[in-house]
């Protein structure tokens, strides 16, 4: 066991866990931030996607000891404000993207990171960036459309 100070969604949080514990389980088991989902634990599905310094990352693959002082953002910290959702979340609702919803927090985290580094992605760029996020319900068509819609709403 070891103590770690983590910066998550703008807050300083501390946990006492085995250093090899993946960030995913620190978030879910120890900090009760259950919006980040477990799908495979093997870096293959994207359900566990969070941001590390703004970049999308599979939290099931990152030991907590490797986080250091880098800023972590989870789905719980993505909204623009207490009362206003992120443009990507809004686009998701407008196009009614979700079915069961299990994969969607990971999808949204990947999409937000994509639009941050590339505010106006082509279809091919969207596909390339989202390819690691699997949706068993098959909502891919609406995911792509929602990213395009969010891109338009923020770039105009």
């Amino acid at each position: 066991m070891a103590k770690f100070q983590l910066k998550i969604n703008g807050k300083q949080l501390s946990v006492d866990v085995d250093p090899s514990t993946p960030l995913l389980w620190v978030l879910r088991d120890h900090l009760h931030l259950v919006g980040t989902k477990y799908g495979c634990g093997a870096g293959a599905c994207g359900a566990c996607t969070v941001h590390l310094n703004g970049n999308a990352l599979r939290s099931c693959q990152l030991p907590v000891s490797a986080v250091g002082t880098q800023a972590i953002t989870t789905i719980e910290g993505i909204a623009t404000s207490e009362t206003e959702m992120h443009p990507v979340q809004k686009a998701w609702l407008e196009l009614d993207v979700a079915q069961c919803g299990y994969c969607q927090t990971g999808q949204i985290m990947s999409a937000v990171a994509l639009l941050k580094r590339n505010p106006n992605p082509t279809e091919a760029e969207i596909e390339a960036a989202m390819t690691g996020n699997i949706c068993r319900c098959g909502t891919y068509i609406r995911i792509k459309a929602a990213i395009q819609k969010a891109a338009k709403s923020t770039t105009k």
Partner: protein, 338 residues
Amino acid sequence: MKSENKNQSRRSFLKVTSLTGGGMMIGISWFANLIPNEAMAHVADNNNWVQLNGFIKITPDNQVKIFNPNPEFGTNVMTSLPMMVNEELEADWSKVKVEMGDYDTPRFKSQFTGGSRAMAMAWMPLRTAGATARLMLMQAAANEWGVPVNELSVSKGTVMHKGSGKAATYGELATAAAKLPKPEKVALKKPGEFTLLGTPQKNKVGKEIVSGQSLFTMDYQVEGMLIAMVIHPPAFGMQLKSFDASEALKMPGIKDVFEFQVYKDGYVKAGFDTRTFNRLIAVVGNSTWEVINARKKVVAEWEPIQTTKEPVMARGGRRDEVIPAGLESTDEHFAADA
């Protein structure tokens, strides 16, 4: 089944629930003990809910909650089944809140999603639940105003009496309505009278989903909860011979490793029950990562099953089924099972 026996140790709790053959769900009241976190906020509210029946709760300040009885596998039953209830209930759909029902079969009867049957099986009971509640709310208004119930109409969660101009919200009527006897028979709308069913509606829990507040089974956490994982045989047609947990038990955070039986002795299997995975190993510990690691340290020995005969409840009733020995993936097994 309910297992709320407070005196049970955690270990026996796990055992008891794992013995309820055929089911994977645990019938305890989670909501009483949930760890409050951001995702829980919308379910762990302290409102004064008045329950009209298993599917409907209303607060005096006119919030209406409809429970979806079935697991959501992505076919949007979280939206479509509550729509059935509300078609007859006639609350304001734009304001209705939808929540996943507990696993509580006495309350919900059918809680099965699959085989394209969720909608068909819910069709009569859910509309009836909505209509029954509406009638009770109307009856409460009729009693209050001293008018016959057939002079009343409802729209968007308000009961109205044309003659006197009186109106009351469902919230105002709920407490009185809940005390009335449940009507034995209610008339249901004809399809031509539907106003909600048959119209496209967005996912009712979309907001929860995109903000990470939607709760899936794995997301329910209670104070002091332990994590358990199960070790299955490597192939169908194999069973547990023996196991050595001595290394696993030395791992940090591990509480117990034990064998358990999925089906009670004498349990008659039905449609979806697996046939050969009966004795399995559970690894129990403080946190998921600790259990994942300890699970790898359990040394289990598996052996092919022997030919057995067992009763099953299948379509067409109870019959004896012979389960041939050997791996289910082999040709001989297929041939013997044909």
